[in-house]
Symmetry: D2
Subunit: 346 residues, 4 copies
């Protein structure tokens, strides 16, 4: 199968190169970059070139532009592009390829909510109904038939996996309060002061708190959908000096107390067959547990009616490129964990 | 003035050595260690020796034991010792010196709460009434007269400074939810697997969540005192890969909405004269803002009746050794910022 | 095939667990630990348990002791044990299994040199002649037939790969000066002050310089063997705040100037068929190029007769556990890169 | 005294702000920035504003442009500007103020060497003879009378302090080989991919090796001057994931063996009165020993005629802004350590 990566030089693109180079179902990779077309992969990404050159024979080991990529008719297209640009750049592929979009362009179907979060209306409202939200463990049956998959954000993935089953089966009362910690790669490969080593090491802090982060509505619409209510969601992200990794601490009140055993049963019902979601009743997860893997590890603490949930993912893998590959695996009938790691790196 | 540091080889002891070596009111430092008495400071702490040797002439630049320190009659004793050992080891100094205890041994006056948090009754219940809780900006007038000062924990310091004025003047409704991020030095200089570089870099996670951390009752008793109620406090600490630094994110509901202007006025009333507490209405603090300093920087976000507070300190300075020196400054009539840095290191 | 890992809870053991859990030729893994036998892998190594439990069915997902491991008759034994203990603990396996020893116990055949470096005579001198030095790209044909493989140290691997072909084909004049940078995991999983996060972050420095590091004679004996002389080798390691990674900068004088083209040809001759060794004539390698992989990346700079060589490896993979698996692959006829990654992680 | 900082928003400018805000001899600071004039220091540098606002009353706590700064007639001007721009921008101050230039513009008096290193001729050849090389411990008597002080680079400072006395008194034979490790702040506050957190954490490597780094001729001209010969100097810098810090490992051959005692005596002769230079005969320095301080710590290892020297500095303090303040102290007759820290931060 032939796969194209639009935006191959960003961090999610670089991870996709690594994952697809080792994927048993991919024979040819087209690395696409508008600004660096023509450059050799050896020059662009020294860490991966020896692994991927053999899979880039059609393009002589070089990056190509979008037009050329469209001519080569990839079976699947991974769009690792900036929000508000992705829908436009993917245009040549919508009819002929399965498109897995890692941007936010197709994540929110409500135009008003989208506009509030991103400052303009969705570029392709005509495709919104067609797009499936690619949260693999929840929407697997829809993904199987989708030709346009909207890959979830990292914060929503880590927040929703522990929370959705609880809200769906038990509901909640009052506020849901999410505090998240993210590694710096979440900001993308941008040469901005805020992303410099000297600015971020030995430093941490919150940003865009409460209801002001773009991922707040992405999480809320999923919770509202299963909870059947207008959920009062506070989501506060924090930057911490990790390269990769994400931890989410959630606090909510249930309508009645729950037991460890019930919660364990709930997660078994939803995730018992998933290769990637695991949990411990007696240990809080650490972000390193899943570093480099497509796994989500969860834990919890119950205090009366109050439930605290803890979850970790690798923001670039399960939070982006790994889940994109998982979506491809589901869509094309590969083993769900083909080409994806389950263990966390030391 | 002569100062003794009990536990001079731990992290808070090492910071005390640095601060006191540059303090204009200290002429002689006794560095005390039960396990390493007799060793030269040059061998024990290569980073500080050139700065402190001149202040250690009475002991020939060497560490001494507690007995010897007591004979040398220090004016002030800083006890940078483990919980449950400190009260005992300080015994020879209670009558003759001002004791500033950095452990938890005198922080909680209620025996039951102490026992629940630390697993045994307080060692010296007879001294509990005499001990003043050394949160400098709040208890300055008591500190001025105290001979036994119980230096607050790092989490309580960072949590209480933004929160106490709000609770005292406005009260609150429902839960108070604190999520804190701490650097690794908060765990002390212990050769434990959990503190290893390889275990902590590229890793983060929560521990002792909700009501199970020892600092939860230390924070709660202060809030209860000013709020006049039994406050429902959830406190969840997280370890992040910083050497030094602490960030606290607090969410609470007020009885009625408050404005930015009112909050700014409130903090001006409480902290307008303090050299160390500052705040911005339009920017969230970052832990680097105060790295190496004795400052606490604060910020906030208001959403209807919900108030989110953000605060940062250096856990080893304002959260431990710096506040201890500030307590000494207040107690002995030095300028409150003598020997203490206000700016955050780059 | 059945594999045992002696010392499964140390860093090299943990990496072996990860690599073998994904190796196509390994059906059963015995995780061995003298001190923690009986514990579940879930408890011991939370990052890997979901990946490896299925391969530990014979032991119920639990660690076992050496005696039990010997009864289970593994085909291959990886000894990830401390120097001077390994040869002893491996005793039950020498006759029945292929033993790949990651310690130094069989690396140096000269008793005097061994004693000087390690402070005592080799434990099993009778096996020294049988042991093959497992530097895969150099000793492949010997490894193919070996039943006892002595896996090289990380510093020697990174130093010798660029240097051995040069010395063998061109010789040298005067000193060879190696300066190496190592990540902290090179010190193993030891709860020592020196390995603490607070001690190692924002810190770097040299140790055991010149001729005093134990790896100096391990490197020298290989160079002497191909150079036919008593080479004057200065080897100075430095600790830098990486979790994993190693960079080696080597300076030597050749007898006559060499060209970029000749050096490129030399490396093609030695490593053209190797999946793991690569080089660039126009770029110096960075340790991240090979993070998490079994690769060695090399570069150089020529100044007249002086040649500067640069090489990077992941100290835990090509410098330890990955090369051990590569040795197994060669010995048992698997593809040389089976279960091993070629690309460096982002 | 009034001090101007040209380039107050870069890293060396930010350190100067911090050092001068606490300097007993400075009453007024002019923070100068061409691109950000008019902005408040509160907005530009949140970490320092509470410390420096009182010293910026003449400018209302705001950054000003060069023209305005010249009108305010500072006694001393610190130029923390890019190479090749500094000499030009300093023009208005050369007649009326003492100028301490932290760029390379006045470091090399030989036009040809300057051109080779920086790609063009010196901007102000007429001032080269007047400029004094501000290596404080070596050129103190010249600095005392200088009106234009050229502050040394960080690599030359750390390399020359241990090396110059040796070369002057004992000479050397053959190559001098310097390998240096530098923290990332050495690259300045530039929003470039190479300086991003994600690119630099868990990564290290050499760059500009041998004779190709701009600091090689700056070091060599000092060595040539005292050695009286054309010294064959190999200087290879490495980037390691520190925010701040520098370690230099030097290897050279003497004409005859030297003893520890002789070397200790040599350094006592040169640096016995210096508050900032210290050394240990029996311990190699670590970069943390001097983090945040203006100190240089040294160590060594002798192997026959071969001498290995080790030295550490904080690249932003003794390697830049701290030495600049030390130069001011010497020039204006303050205590040499006024406003400068001697101890290394924990």
């Amino acid at each position: 199968m032939k796969a194209a990566i639009l935006g191959a030089t960003g961090y999610t693109g670089m991870i996709l190169l690594r994952l697809l180079s080792a994927h048993p179902g991919i024979s040819e990779i087209f690395a696409v970059s508008s600004s660096r077309a023509g450059k050799s992969i050896r020059e662009i990404d020294p860490g991966v070139y020896t692994a991927v050159e053999a899979n880039m024979s059609a393009t002589g080991g070089r990056l190509i532009d979008v037009k050329k990529a469209a001519e080569l008719k990839p079976d699947v297209v991974f769009a690792a592009l900036p929000h508000l640009e992705s829908a436009k750049i993917c245009e040549p592929f919508f009819k002929s390829s399965v498109v897995i979009d890692l941007s936010a362009d197709f994540r929110i179907k409500d135009h008003g909510i989208f506009e509030k979060a991103y400052g303009c209306l969705p570029e392709r409202p005509d495709l919104l109904d067609k797009a499936v939200y690619g949260l693999c463990e929840i929407y697997g049956s829809e993904i199987r038939k989708a030709d346009l998959i909207s890959n979830p954000g990292c914060y929503p993935t880590a927040s929703l996996l522990p929370l959705l089953p609880v809200i769906r089966e038990y509901g909640n009362e009052g506020k849901i309060i999410i505090n998240a910690l993210s590694g710096i790669s979440g900001a993308g490969k941008k040469a901005a002061f805020n992303n410099l080593f000297v600015e971020r090491t030995e430093n941490c802090g919150a940003y865009a708190p409460g209801k002001s982060h773009r991922h707040q509505p992405e999480i809320k619409k999923e919770l509202d959908a299963v909870g059947g209510t207008d959920i009062d969601l506070f989501f506060t992200p924090h930057l911490v000096p990790l390269k990769r990794g994400m931890e989410v601490t959630t606090l909510l009140d249930l309508k009645a107390p729950i037991t460890d055993c019930e919660l364990d049963g709930l997660y078994s019902k939803y995730y018992g067959d998933s290769p990637f979601v695991s949990w411990d009743a007696d240990r809080l997860p650490q972000s390193r547990d899943v570093w480099g893997s497509n796994s989500c590890r969860m834990g919890w603490k119950i205090e009366g009616k109050t439930l605290m949930l803890f979850s970790v993912i690798d923001n670039l893998v399960k939070g982006a490129s790994g889940q994109a590959v998982q979506n491809m695996n589901i869509r094309f009938g590969f083993a769900e964990n083909a080409g994806l790691r389950i263990y966390g790196e030391l």
